[in-house]
């Protein structure tokens, strides 16, 4: 029995798990910049957690992202709430609220 046969058996005989393929094809292999710029960190697919996985932990930390080390669900909710607050503050700063109240008066 070859290593290939053994591996196939171990893998249930089906196609490779998508997670294993993504991890290798998006995060491993030779990185060379072609002519067409592609930023794999832009992939929002499979939630931000996948982005954090395919960026290495160190790279993510450099970007100031480390909340995956805590509870991802709580952290994500907190992140979203923070975003909403920020959006409201930005809207206020842009005078959107002021504009609305002027129409009403």
């Amino acid at each position: 029995m070859s290593a290939r046969d053994l591996a196939r058996n171990g893998n249930g005989g089906g196609p490779a798990q998508l997670a294993d393929v993504l991890e290798r094809v998006l995060d491993k292999g030779i990185v060379i910049a072609g002519d067409i710029q592609i930023n794999l960190l832009d992939i929002e697919l499979l939630t931000i957690r996948l982005r954090l996985l395919i960026a290495s932990a160190d790279k993510a930390r450099e970007m100031g992202i480390d909340w995956w080390e805590g509870d991802p669900f709580l952290s994500r909710r907190a992140g979203n709430d923070g975003l909403e607050d920020r959006l409201k503050r930005l809207e206020a700063a842009a005078g959107l609220d002021a504009g609305e109240s002027k129409d009403e008066s």
């Binding site: 290593a3 591996a7 997670a19 991890e23 030779i30 060379i32 067409i36 794999l40 499979l46 996985l53």
Partner: protein, 246 residues
């Protein structure tokens, strides 16, 4: 537009030695003793303006990521291949040749490093037994605190046990391999499994060498009764063993 819009690009999958067999539906660009494995791709699929959207289209990404791997797997079954990461796209073949020239040293080093080898993946899963619920309500504050302390100590012991089991297993597997690397365990959201992944490692082994696969089987037999599962994947093109950091 002033000039006719270019509607194709050249997608580079990886690099082969120049005399290596090439899968039938692919081409090579040869330069400086290296052969890039390429395919012409439409820019309405791979152009800079559409890629960000496509990369976030789950179906598109899965299809093309699997295709990338399939091409490299077919090439690797027949010859030594240095796999590229997804998405190296050039305007034309002369740009591919320039790329080969610029990175010739690294590519040649990796061709030597992975020659005659394939990558196998090993994951160790742990099926955590349900937390032991207290049989009775704590009788008093002191008893409760003592139980909490005992539980915490037991949990730490178990975690240390798991860690040392996994480290030993990795050592045994690494002895069957030319090279090895340990990656971050995949989170459950990505693995899609309820079990906890304790080890996510890759091993570079010689073609036809079954020692690692057999070691995985015996590790699994040893530890399955205690809730561990050893899973072998591959063979893969040697993604984990090429590049600057390898």
């Amino acid at each position: 537009m002033i000039s006719a819009a270019q509607d194709t690009g050249v997608y580079v999958y990886g690099v082969l030695a120049p005399d290596a067999p090439v899968p039938s539906d692919l081409e090579t660009v040869e330069h400086d003793g290296l052969a890039a494995l390429v395919r012409e791709v439409p820019l309405d699929e791979f152009g800079e303006d559409v890629l960000p959207a496509h990369l976030n289209d789950r179906e598109w990404l899965e299809r093309h990521v699997r295709a990338h791997d399939d091409v490299l797997e077919a090439a690797a079954a027949a010859a030594t291949v240095v796999p590229f990461r997804f998405g190296v796209i050039c305007h034309d073949r002369s740009d591919v040749a320039r790329l080969l020239g610029e990175h010739a040293e690294l590519l040649r080093r990796d061709l030597v490093r992975v020659r005659g080898c394939e990558e196998l993946g090993v994951k160790v899963w742990y099926d955590e037994p349900g937390a032991t619920a207290p049989d009775e309500a704590p009788s008093g504050g002191r008893a409760y605190l003592e139980r909490r302390r005992d539980d915490r100590r037991r949990a730490l012991e178990l975690a240390a046990e798991r860690e040392s089991l996994v480290a030993d297993a990795h050592d045994r597997l690494a002895r069957c391999a030319v090279a090895s690397t340990v990656n971050r365990p995949q989170p459950k959201e990505l693995s899609g499994r309820d079990e906890q992944m304790l080890l996510n490692a890759a091993y570079l082994v010689r073609h036809g060498d079954t020692r690692l696969a057999r070691e995985v089987a015996s590790l699994h037999a040893e530890h399955a009764p205690n809730g561990y599962a050893f899973e072998l994947t591959g063979p893969w093109p040697p993604y984990n063993f090429v590049g600057e950091d390898a």
